[in-house]
């Protein structure tokens, strides 16, 4: 696939800044008079604060203020009835263990940390439940519909199929925990002028949330978030801790910085919710799917509902006339979850793609052949053709590279000493989104191009992708193009989520470049020059230092006519130790089918990161709660295991790299999510192939393999 890579392959435009420490992250801004906030958290899981003793903290050295529901710094929206559910510092109610209940602000971080330990809360405790599986079994516990039930053809058709299976799959809570800790610097100045330095996937969304809560015009709020040390979905909303930071700054009239602790990263900024899913599959003896049923339950909080696309994939990924799905959410006394990379689709794909493998086994078919046999030509859910889909080609490339021909269909066939080898495959799919965004382009007589948009870069390399789109159209050297982002005063763009940034903002970059080009050629014609004359000469001839264009771009009718998805295929080889149950992923081949690859290097990095995250999801990651106390047990990086280098083999990344004819001018579909979606199932399938053991509960740790 290497050959298909674009010539424009380039390093990250901000790579040098990042590796030399010059990229400035939110917590690194030094404001005059900066103060430090540390959050005090509840130590009970449910109930009420009956007393909050802040005296000792207030008297501690360096302390400026203790902010809590006792002094309620004004936040107009919180003063009204209704509105946001957990109004930080406006309620004495405890919804979960680790909920922020007060903030100590001091002139140093250390003093604030110490004083925070002196705040003593007294509570009236109530009975609680943090155990999702228990809530699910409890007929009295609430279950809310998370998505409308879906039915095509006969409901539960699998039950009467020639070959059928029905299995349950379990996923624990996973946390995003990017390296960079969450927090904010807020500076509330006179006349309600606010500047914040944030860790956010959407500067406009942060601006909007603050405007709503404090009821001030958005123009008063400047949000800066140029560099983000990893988001993975966690920074898609403005969390109570951020509102608390703004509140505190308003209260004391000084800038306040809050950086939460690693332990607080488990309780204040969401997680991938636990899920329990049942898949029913039916097929005829020839291996044609005749029924798919996907029922899922996801965890949510008691104070806010969270839903995601857990059962989406079952509706269109395989050719099948009878499909039904349901999805309910179950409130427990934990902090509200949030999308985590691949979001609900990754949860759903673990179940569906495991079950597909199980069905292939039941039919004694090669799971790859089974998938190909049931690959749909059109989207049966939307009743539309796919805008582009090259899955069969992707299967072929991946199978060849992983050495699929070495795989034996009979599990446990490849044994060398105590090590058993297995191969697994799975598919990932995610909606190929395109939203609405504006970009401003300033083309200068010095030969440079400045592009601006209030989008974000949480790591994928937004600036690099945008620069390459402009470079290709304008033929301006990459180092003469600057793309500015992460600043709410720039032309609006949506939050970075759902793998949509390149498609959405990239299209606006495309439109701006086209507009600049035609302005230049018009100018050239007017001044008697060749319409293809170099823009620098055209601008000089016209005595113009620069020209400027702003364009808003969005999708059109094409989305009514086509079903648009990005796809990925994950092939893995694993080695499983028969005596110790240790699973090693020994080889990974991934194939992305997501239209044109605009920026090969950062696209490859996306796939690498997805595979590593996938290993974590499959083998190591699980946030453990002691349900007697409602507290996390492993809320640190020694005990919450993300994969380390030694867990990650060489990853062979491949792209189909064929433009999608409809989605956008670049023909490029998103790929941040597909890099992860389905990966965990490929590992589970490979473990089955190696050992004959089907593990339906993640992560696949040695105890489960042995058990």
């Amino acid at each position: 696939m290497e050959k298909r890579m674009l010539k424009e392959d380039t390093d990250r435009v901000d790579g040098i800044l990042k590796v030399t420490g010059r990229a400035k992250y939110f917590a690194e801004y030094e404001l005059p008079g900066l103060t430090y906030g540390v959050l005090v958290t509840s130590t009970i899981t449910k109930g009420k604060i009956t007393a909050l003793d802040t005296k000792a903290a207030e008297n501690a050295p360096g302390v400026i203020a203790v902010v809590s529901h006792l002094n309620k710094p004004s936040a107009a929206a919180y003063e009204q009835e209704g509105g946001p559910q957990m109004k930080i510092f406006y309620t004495d109610k405890i919804f979960y263990n680790g909920q922020p209940i007060a903030m100590v602000v001091a002139n140093t971080f250390e003093r604030a940390t110490h004083a925070a330990s002196l705040v003593k809360a007294t509570y009236a405790k109530e009975e609680f439940n943090t155990d999702f599986a228990k809530a699910l079994k409890d007929p009295k516990a609430k279950k809310l519909q998370g998505q409308a039930d879906y039915k095509r053809g006969i409901e539960n058709a699998y039950k009467t199929a020639e070959v059928k299976l029905e299995e349950r799959y379990f996923l624990p809570i996973e946390t995003h925990n990017p390296m960079e800790l969450h927090g904010m610097i807020a500076d509330w100045r006179p006349n309600n002028q606010v500047t914040v330095y944030a860790k956010t996937q959407g500067v406009k969304s942060t601006q909007g949330t603050i405007a709503n809560v404090f009821k001030i015009p958005p123009e008063n709020i400047q949000v800066n978030s140029e560099f983000v040390g990893g988001g993975f979905g966690m920074a898609l909303r403005t969390w109570p801790l951020e509102i608390a930071t703004v509140m505190a700054s308003k209260h004391i009239g000084k800038p306040v910085k809050v950086v939460i602790t690693r332990a607080q990263m488990f309780t204040m900024v969401g997680n991938r919710p636990a899920a329990i899913q049942t898949i029913g599959l039916g097929a005829d003896k020839d291996g044609k799917l005749t029924g798919i049923t996907h029922r899922a339950y996801g965890e949510t909080s008691t104070y806010e509902n969270f839903t995601e696309g857990v059962v989406n994939m079952a509706k269109f990924m395989y050719q099948c006339d009878n499909v039904n799905t349901s999805y309910a959410i179950v409130p427990v006394d934990l902090g509200v979850p949030i999308w985590m990379r691949g979001p609900g689709e990754a949860t759903g794909a673990f179940a569906l793609e495991s079950a597909i493998d199980e069905m292939a086994h039941a039919l004694d078919m090669d799971p790859l052949d089974f998938r190909i046999k049931n690959d749909p030509e059109t989207d049966q859910q939307k009743n539309k053709p796919f805008s582009s889909k090259n899955i069969k080609e992707a299967y072929k490339i991946g199978a060849e590279k992983i050495g699929w021909s070495n795989r034996k269909n009979k599990p446990g066939s490849l044994v060398e000493g105590q090590w058993q080898t297995g191969y697994g495959v799975s598919v990932g799919v995610f909606n190929a989104n395109r939203g609405k965004a504006s970009v401003k382009g300033i083309l200068k007589a010095d030969g440079s191009l400045l592009l601006q948009s209030a989008t974000s870069d949480i790591g994928p390399g937004t600036g690099t992708g945008m620069t390459l789109i402009a470079h290709k159209l304008m033929k301006i050297p990459v180092d003469k193009i600057t793309f500015e982002l992460g600043d709410s005063s720039l032309p609006p763009a949506p939050s970075q989520g759902g793998s949509a940034t390149l498609s959405t903002v990239g299209s606006a970059v495309n439109d701006v470049c086209e507009a600049l080009k035609s302005t230049i050629s018009e100018l050239a014609i007017h001044s008697g020059m060749d319409p293809t004359a170099n823009f620098v000469e055209v601008l000089k001839k016209n005595n113009l230092p620069a020209i400027e264009v702003t364009k808003e771009s969005h999708s059109g009718k094409e989305r009514d006519n086509y079903s648009m998805y990005s796809f990925s295929i994950h092939f893995v080889q694993v080695k499983v130790h028969a005596l110790t149950g240790v699973v090693k992923v020994s080889k990974i081949v991934s194939v992305g089918d997501s239209g044109t690859i605009v920026s090969p290097k950062t696209a490859r990095s996306q796939m690498l990161g997805g595979a590593v995250g996938g290993i974590g999801m499959a083998l190591t990651e699980e946030a453990v709660i002691d349900h007697r106390y409602g507290r996390y047990i492993n809320n640190n990086f020694a005990d919450y295991h993300v994969p380390v280098n030694a867990d990650v083999p060489e990853i062979d990344v491949n792209f189909i790299n064929k433009p999608d004819p409809y989605i956008n001018p670049m023909g490029a579909k998103g790929m941040g999510e597909i890099a992860l979606i389905g990966f965990s199932a490929a590992v589970a399938n490979a473990v089955f192939n190696a050992t004959g053991k089907r593990i339906r509960s993640l992560p696949i740790t040695p105890d489960k393999v042995l058990g």
């Binding site: 149950g581 190591t620 002691d626 047990i633 492993n634 105890d703």
Partner: protein, 327 residues
């Protein structure tokens, strides 16, 4: 502020003298465990006696023994030519622990003294008899996946988390301890203790004592050895179960054998019954299996850690297999 005094000393004698003066003083070596415990509020010494400048970093052969100073770093020991040649089991065990960065500063004495990783011990909002005697054991009916299956007490089922110590227990090391009156030497196997009724005590070091050095006999165990650590990820994770295995072979007959396990008890768990069985026997799979079976006598699971009842014997067998195949 939680104030504490920081003192630095460059001799063992003065370090011991400082310790004697203040019951609430603690030695600071690499700090990789102690500082974490202070940050989490698990311990709050009033005085930190920095002993990093005390000249106890020697790694040398003295007669038939290898001496390792208490302040030699884990990396220095693991990578020392003498250790690699004569005590490779120790080198392997050290390399299996923590991360390169931690091993670069962690010391031998600190490693011996490191406290359990039981999550309840670290969370001051949770009950824990080890942290706060009488408050109860959070793990007993809670999350005890990492916990002990041997020698447990009703008060505490924590494990000692060290890898290095498992190899040292196997190698019949001795520890030299000193207080203001002088030195004493004890078997390494007697350094750590079972929790019993006093889980707050991890070991038998007296409050006025300092660890000075290890003395490890040079033996013929440098050929057939293996340290096998089973963990949740390939590196940088504590052992679910680990096994230090070494034996001397003569015509495929086992003439000397050492077996110890980590991750299963409040102290490194030496498998004497298995050793006794293997001595004089052939190094065969069936004998390894029998030895593993013998090792499990008295083992008891607490729910989440029941899998160790199967994993432990399997790991013993595999460690012995791998030790054998080294030849």
């Amino acid at each position: 502020m939680i104030n504490f005094q920081y003192l630095r000393t460059s001799s063992a004698k003065s370090a011991i003298a400082l310790l004697l003066k203040d019951k609430n003083a603690k030695f600071l070596a690499g700090g990789t465990n102690l500082i974490d415990l202070m940050k989490r509020g698990v311990t709050a010494p009033e005085k930190l006696i920095d002993i990093n400048h005390v000249p106890l970093k020697q790694i040398e052969q003295v007669g038939s023994k290898i001496h390792i100073g208490a302040l030699a770093t884990n990396t220095a020991v693991a990578e020392h030519a003498l250790i690699k040649e004569k005590l490779p089991l120790l080198s392997w065990a050290l390399q299996a622990g923590a991360s390169a960065q931690l091993r670069n500063v962690a010391t031998v004495g600190g490693n011996m003294m490191q406290r359990t990783r039981c999550g309840y011990f670290y969370d001051t909002e949770m009950p824990c008899n080890k942290r706060q005697p009488g408050s109860g054991c959070g793990a007993m009916e809670g999350f005890n996946r990492m916990h002990a299956i041997f020698g447990t007490s009703e008060k505490c089922i924590a494990v000692h988390p060290s890898d290095m110590c498992v190899a040292l227990a196997a190698l019949d090391a001795e520890v030299v301890l000193a207080n203001h009156k002088g030195e004493r030497k004890i078997a390494f196997r007697d350094f750590h203790r079972l929790a019993g009724d006093t889980p707050q005590l991890d070991n038998n070091l007296k409050t006025d004592e300092m660890i000075i050095r290890l003395e490890i006999p040079v033996s013929n165990l440098a050929k057939n050895y293996h340290y096998l650590k089973v963990r949740d990820r390939a590196s940088y994770a504590f052992a679910l179960v680990s096994v230090a295995a070494a034996f001397e072979l003569n015509n495929n007959k086992i003439t000397d054998v050492r077996l110890a396990m980590g991750g299963v008890a409040h102290k490194p768990w030496r498998l004497t019954a298995s050793e006794d069985f293997l001595k004089g026997k052939e190094a065969s799979l069936s004998n390894f299996e029998k030895a593993a079976e013998l090792a499990m006598k008295g083992a008891k699971g607490f729910g989440e850690n029941n899998f160790k009842l199967k994993l432990a014997p399997n790991t013993i067998i595999e460690a012995l297999n791998l030790a054998k195949s080294k030849a």
